[in-house]
Symmetry: C2
Subunit: 487 residues, 2 copies
């Protein structure tokens, strides 16, 4: 399991441990040595360096575009929430209060009331919604914001995965009916799954959260659960039906078509920078980061191999290839004269650049390039005349292969079990996600968690009637549920 | 002058005061009644509603694109800054300390050290820069972030113009030499001026800040000063040469080509959501907001005029025009059947939509539309076959005319004066920007400010040698400076 934050700014340049041997240390090294992120000055925070920030912006762009096309509108609320407001929905407050950072002073003055830095914005937003929404004509109101939040994790901060400040979207939508509100779910989870697959090359397991694992204040929560290579699960993007819980607490009501006041139906949903952590963990290897081409800050790096006599031809040809590729791909020509080609290969591999192009005397003379894929190391010879087209194809293929690899990782580590013995055995041996029949009772869920450390990630949405028995109590199973140890 | 924050969520729908009679109340009404923003729950904060957030995102997109093309890279640092770090550059700390919001508790724990919510990020960023920068090979390092900051203004918060939380970019770049650092200025100020002109239809006055008005910690500050219709100035985007002030305080040094350690040369620069306030103030009128087409959330609204007998033809024709326009412009078909056309005209005028298209029986029959420009009310008849092209032209012209109007406002309110008497007289009569000879001494600058309330906004970069005398002390003038009362 990931833990141990290595705060030292290490000088050695390559990764010194194997992913399969010390996953936690490998993860920490790959993140910082590749310059994807750095640890922040305040413990538990990170700095997004250009490569990670770019990847996040690509996800933002994609998700935002899909949302906007569907009618979601962007807004921005202040990050400060008065304590009295945060308290108003009791379950919500109970859930978030332990990890709230409080502003108590401004300049030289003590504030009259403590202000929370948003851990999430339901309360501050719904207080305004209550003023803005008057009648059915104002609905649906589908607002979203992209921002930063703080959750003061006390145990085991893990970079990107469990950090004290992270970036995300928070969708907060309001509908006139329960049905309309519930209908939004498949659209939102669909967009998130598409972003995971097409950008981060990740595949998750979708399902409904149990009552114990629900978002604080929601009626129903749905999640996309990701699996890391160490067999631990990680909750990814999620979607919550809030029912009328918040609308009652915040007086978000509207005049319906019959002229009567009704409380509105609300949803909230989010995707966060956490998915970048999963992407690094799933796809990285012993040489460093492996970035999916669609998210890579630099997609193609050209390394000229300079030898006496051919320098001019090599550099000219490299520049020609660079001029052509850069019109279409995020390309870098690494013509630094104080590093050897070998040093450069290592550096760009560490940083996860999808395609490396090597150009030496042979290539310059033959008007072709040697392209190397970061994920599988496969080399290919590409004619200069086809370089733009073929590099595009290679990246498409790489993106596809990476997603397939992630799908395989998930599939190979999902284990159907029918008995508690087998459940414990697999959990001990290899972890992963255990797909097991469950009676639906909270008691069994909690007992299993207590005894094995595995919780129910979620319950798949499509359930076929079962003849099986709950692995814990032996009573008739109502569901098949996804269990795992989870970050 | 703008002041008085109207916290009531007013019910009356139109603007009830004239811009020329009560500018402050007009500004507050136009912002909220047009649903551009709303006041936040925490005093001194605002909510960016879809229209204002969209306008800001357009500015972000434009500026970011120019920055990235020039080699600036985006990063994201945590918003929390330990007090000990904020203190490290003394002038900087002195400048910002009075308006810092402090986090002192997390969950149930008191923090060992207070954490500032960033009022600006020099200190937290440069502490990392110090670790990252090793040699001349790492330079220039041109990092930028787009984020939210908090400055706890105690006096007179004014929405968008002086709010406790705002959105901005902060560029923080590092160079190996003073000259290179200084060279960045014209590029950055050029991008900001272009964004102001081409998007917000605003024109400002560029110049160097005096020592008294400099950014806390900078060696030289440059600003683009905007002028509001009430004759008060407003500092817009700015650029600062930090020299080696911060690099010495934060130990940002590098090994130069000669193998010696040197402190780096730094710049910082920013454009903030404040420009949206200036845009509203300059372009709005007694009917409400007037949005420049390039920033408008909705660019074109189509209002069908339904009368018995022609409903079907009118609606069909409206839908046809809508289908065509929406492929190119942000278009809305307002087919709500519970509001009259007149009500709709008022609403969209209030919201500042650049072009209104009216479609009645006459139009449907004649296959043309009536288009009305928001800024000047001019109506024109456009053939259905040319609607896409002509609406585009109309918006281009409107954007141009709005910029010209802003330029005229500025020009008409810049007064060259050679004597202190005239200076005071104009300031009393009509305010505006006073362009006056100044000896360059801080003492005169401060005396003028004390006696008239007008400070030096900035000193134009191109100065021709003067024969004039300082308006205050009568000694030989060194500069012509721009004076004004300023927000």
């Amino acid at each position: 399991m990931l833990s141990g934050v290595n705060l030292e700014n290490e000088k050695s340049e390559g990764i010194t441990v194997k992913k399969s041997e010390n996953f936690s240390e490998w993860y920490s090294q790959v993140l910082t040595k590749s310059e994807f992120i750095d640890y922040g000055i305040v413990s538990g925070t990170v700095v997004f360096k250009p490569s990670s920030y770019f990847a996040w912006q690509k996800i933002v762009e994609f998700v935002n575009n899909e949302f906007v096309k569907d009618g979601v509108e962007n807004v921005y609320f202040s990050m400060l929430i008065p304590e009295s407001l945060l308290e108003r929905e009791k379950t919500h407050f109970k859930g978030f209060n332990p990890e709230v950072a409080w502003v108590t002073e401004a300049g030289k003055s003590k504030l009259k009331e403590r202000l929370a830095i948003r851990p999430t914005s339901e309360t501050i937003m719904y207080a305004s919604y209550s003023k803005w929404i008057r009648s059915w004509r104002d609905l649906p109101m589908r607002y979203n914001q992209w921002n930063n939040v703080i959750r003061w994790e006390f145990k085991n901060p893990t970079p990107l995965i469990r950090t004290r400040e992270f970036l995300w979207n928070e969708g907060h939508t309001v509908y006139a009916s329960k049905e309309e509100a519930e209908n939004e779910r498949d659209f939102v989870l669909g967009v998130y799954q598409k972003a995971l697959a097409e950008l981060a090359a990740l595949k998750g397991v979708v399902g409904r959260k149990t009552e114990n694992e629900r978002f604080a204040g929601a009626v129903n929560s749905y999640s996309i659960e990701l699996l890391l290579p160490d067999g631990w699960a990680l909750q990814g993007p999620d979607f919550h039906n809030d029912g009328q819980n918040f609308s009652k607490a915040f007086d978000v009501k509207f005049l319906n078509r019959e002229g009567k006041y009704e409380y509105a139906w609300q949803n909230t949903y989010a995707i966060s920078t956490r998915v970048l952590g999963a992407m690094v963990a799933v796809h990285g290897d012993d040489k460093g980061l492996v970035l999916p081409p669609n998210l890579a800050y630099i997609q193609v790096v050209i390394v000229p191999i300079m030898k006496k006599g051919s320098e001019k031809a090599v550099l000219e040809f490299s520049q020609q290839i660079y001029s052509e590729l850069r019109t279409k791909y995020r390309t870098k020509l690494d013509d630094r004269d104080y590093y050897s080609p070998g040093y450069k290969y290592n550096e760009w591999e560490l940083k996860g650049v999808p395609i490396r192009i090597e150009i030496g005397a042979k290539e310059a003379e033959g008007r072709f390039v040697t392209a190397v894929r970061r994920d599988n190391g496969v080399k290919s010879k590409i004619e200069a005349s086809k370089v733009k087209e073929d590099i595009g194809k290679a990246m498409e293929q790489m993106q596809k292969d990476m997603l397939e690899r992630a799908e395989k990782l998930l599939k190979n580590n999902m284990h159907e079990v029918k008995s508690y013995e087998k459940f414990k055995e697999i959990l001990k041996e290899k972890k992963g996600i255990l797909v097991a029949p469950w009676c639906g009772e909270s008691e069994c869920e909690l007992k299993i968690k207590e005894e094995t450390g595995a919780k129910i990630l979620n319950v798949p949405l499509d359930q076929t009637p079962l003849d099986d028995k709950c692995i814990y109590c032996g009573k008739k199973a109502k569901y098949v549920a996804n269990f795992a140890r989870s970050y």
